[in-house]
């Protein structure tokens, strides 16, 4: 399915400074049993967010009303482990449209773009600046400008540019996806398949 268009996002952000947040934490395997892409946001960070009796854990950031917004800011190596796209679905379904980190696991980065979440990789120093800014003022806003490829702390004007390849950027801005592109070259693919030895 083609995703939402993404151009400029201004929002406060939810901080999660833990490093190596793996996709088993984002959504544990026991919640992967659905056959439709529905309701995964309810189980986002399930075991960090809820006690065994399903009561919310007060000290977890998603249960803290101080923090909200469409941007999730994570520690280094965000999204490692399992390839489950359910992790990206859960983040999207919860309401996030952008994840910021100093380092993303490869498969998670692809999955995010494929479901319409923009992964923004910043320098370790800028990540610390963002965490500090949110700690000082939880309502502080970030601006993610995809056409300009910049991320800015609106209160101070601190800004950094981020990388994304032109093809993916074009897709996100216009709401296209890879399958649309590939279906348009079907004849070429069929001809190539003929040349394969196995």
């Amino acid at each position: 399915m083609a995703y939402d268009k993404f151009t400029i996002l201004r929002s406060s952000a939810v901080p999660m400074p833990n490093e190596n947040v793996d996709t088993d934490q984002i959504i544990p395997a026991r919640f992967l049993k659905a056959t439709e892409r529905k309701g995964f946001g309810d189980n986002l960070f399930r075991d960090w967010r809820y006690n065994n009796d399903n009561t919310p854990k007060a000290d977890f950031v998603l249960n803290n009303p101080t923090y909200s917004g469409k941007i999730l800011v994570g520690g280094k190596n965000f999204g490692s482990g399992s390839s489950r796209e359910h992790a990206a679905w859960a983040i999207y379904d919860y309401g996030f449209r952008c994840v910021v980190s100093s380092f993303f696991a490869d498969i998670f980065r692809n999955n995010s773009i494929n479901v319409g979440i923009l992964p923004v990789q910043v320098s370790p120093e800028f990540l610390e600046t963002i965490f500090a800014a949110i700690e000082a003022d939880p309502t502080t806003e970030l601006e993610i400008n995809l056409p300009a490829q910049t991320i800015t702390l609106l209160a101070t004007g601190d800004s950094e540019s981020f990388a994304i390849n032109e093809y993916k950027k074009h897709n996100l801005i216009n709401g296209y996806d890879d399958i649309d592109y590939l279906l348009s070259m079907k004849t070429e693919i069929e001809a190539f398949a003929e040349t394969r030895p196995f």
Binding site: N20, D24, S83, Y167, D178, I179, L182, A193
Partner: protein
């Protein structure tokens, strides 16, 4: 003279249909594996587009993630799991895809049954909606995990769009010592590179240690390459590879085989080819390994102490949180740590060699009373070999039972969940928080270390038990 190329370049370049300007390569996919968990939404997407499956003969379906490992002849009790298994069967039938569902003689873990049946071949591109697809790189294939959107993409177009990753070579020279298995080699490498040290790279393994490894061992190594962040790992095909493949049910036969062998022999890194990163390790430094933290990079030699926060690459806060979850402290010795569960199985260590290794330790000994052991073969073929080789008798005499094939406690999607707070020595691939069940504490290790824990009830150096034989 042409430019020297790496093994990875040769296979990748042979599959590029188009290079998108300032974008990814369009890569043709030779083989696609699907399972019940990451495929249903892809089929829904396909229906939504009204697109057919382009080459149904290039996709193979097996049920593994969500299957019970006891009483597989009975209806699946969990309605959600049953629904997923039904969806896979329905979708496979609808689109004419080969399906080895629960109860099928060829059923088993996707990364065990693919190679076992000769579906995986050198020089192929192989994808599956599972990160441990890297396993198939053992055959000199480019194999990696993908998300569900990409599963849909491959079903619809037999291609995916990927930027070409950077290349890393990891060489391990010398000979491994007593009691050191391929699992120890890869756990050691990950402990040296960290859980994110190879992100953005595709790894080629080289050197004497891998040349001397069996295909089962190479699969274990390539399988866990993803645990250092790399997309995949591969090993150049050689005589060991060809001997393994020859005669397997779906391996090429006769003239087709004869034609492919000379091509496969070209699949190695040319002299002078360069890598973005070259790492070299000495096999003599590798002892049986065990993890103590909550990512696979947090491992050490089984006789070592848990490192201090200052000496690890992870940030101090994350490291301390990790030890706290495990109930461990810095500077503690791993030997003698209490163990409650032992899990032998998974796409990492669910093959016949792993059961042979486990049996070599438990033979003539008995399961410790405090241990609950789950021994789960990777496939029915492995299960049959265990029986035929007399391994089942050894296990039974030592007080162990064999379960039925599946992913089982590796990801604890079915009933095989380690209870909260309990310690499990597991031959699987991930020790993340809650991976083996909410609150479960996982110590990753080889089948020998698992067996040593199973008969002594605590973390034990398996070399002591080998000595006693």
């Amino acid at each position: 003279m042409s430019t020297p190329k790496t093994l990875f370049d040769k296979v990748w370049d042979a599959h590029v249909i188009r290079q998108v300007k300032d974008g990814p390569d369009v890569l043709f996919i030779d083989r696609h594996f699907i399972h019940e968990v990451t495929s249903p939404v892809a089929f829904l997407g396909l229906e939504g587009r009204g697109a057919p499956v382009l080459f149904s003969e290039r996709t193979f379906a097996t049920a593994d993630h969500n299957t019970p490992t006891l009483n597989q002849h009975l209806p699946v009790a969990d309605p959600l799991s049953a629904n997923q298994l039904d969806a896979l069967e329905r979708n496979a039938a609808k689109y004419g895809i080969s399906h080895w569902g629960l109860g099928h003689i060829k059923n088993g873990i996707v990364h065990v049954v693919g190679p076992e049946n000769g579906i995986t071949l050198p020089g192929m591109t192989i994808v599956c909606g599972d990160s441990h697809t890297s396993t198939h790189g053992a055959f000199g294939a480019i194999a990696f995990g993908i998300g569900t959107s990409e599963v849909e993409m491959v079903l619809a177009t037999q291609c995916i769009m990927q930027p070409k990753p950077k290349k890393m070579r990891i060489t391990v020279n010398g000979k491994t010592g007593k009691g050191v298995l391929p699992k120890d080699v890869i756990l050691y490498i990950i402990s040296q590179t960290s859980a994110s040290g190879a992100t953005g790279y595709f790894v080629e393994y080289a050197g004497e240690v891998f040349e001397n490894m069996t295909m089962e061992g190479r699969m274990t190594v390539c399988n866990m390459t993803i645990e250092m962040g790399a997309r995949g790992g591969m090993i150049a095909p050689d005589q060991t590879t060809l001997d393994y493949l020859k005669g397997r049910e779906l391996s090429p036969k006769g003239e087709q085989w004869d034609k492919l062998v000379p091509y496969w022999q070209t699949l190695k890194t040319d002299e002078g080819a360069t890598f973005d990163l070259d790492l070299t390790f000495d096999a003599a430094n590798i002892e049986p390994q065990i993890t103590y933290g909550t990512n696979p990079g947090l491992g050490t030699g089984v006789t070592h102490q848990i490192p201090t926060a200052e000496s690890v690459k992870d940030g101090s806060a994350s490291y301390k949180k990790s030890l706290q979850y495990m109930g461990f402290a810095e500077n503690e010795s791993m030997i003698g740590k209490p163990v409650d569960f032992v899990f032998l199985g998974s796409c990492t260590n669910g093959r016949i060699e792993d059961f042979r290794a486990f049996a070599s330790i438990v033979k003539g000994r008995h399961k410790a009373d405090n241990i609950t052991a789950w021994l789960v073969p990777g496939s029915h073929v492995v299960e049959k070999q265990i029986q035929e080789e007399g391994i089942l008798d050894i296990l039974t005499q030592a007080g162990f039972e064999l379960r039925q094939p599946g992913c089982s406690a590796c990801l604890a999607m079915n009933e095989d969940k380690i209870p909260a707070g309990k310690y499990a020595v597991s031959t699987s691939n991930r020790n993340f928080e809650g991976r083996q069940g909410p609150g479960a504490r996982t110590l990753l290790a080889s089948p020998l270390v698992a067996a040593a824990a199973a008969v002594t009830g605590v973390v034990t150096d398996p070399r002591i038990l080998i000595d006693n034989e």
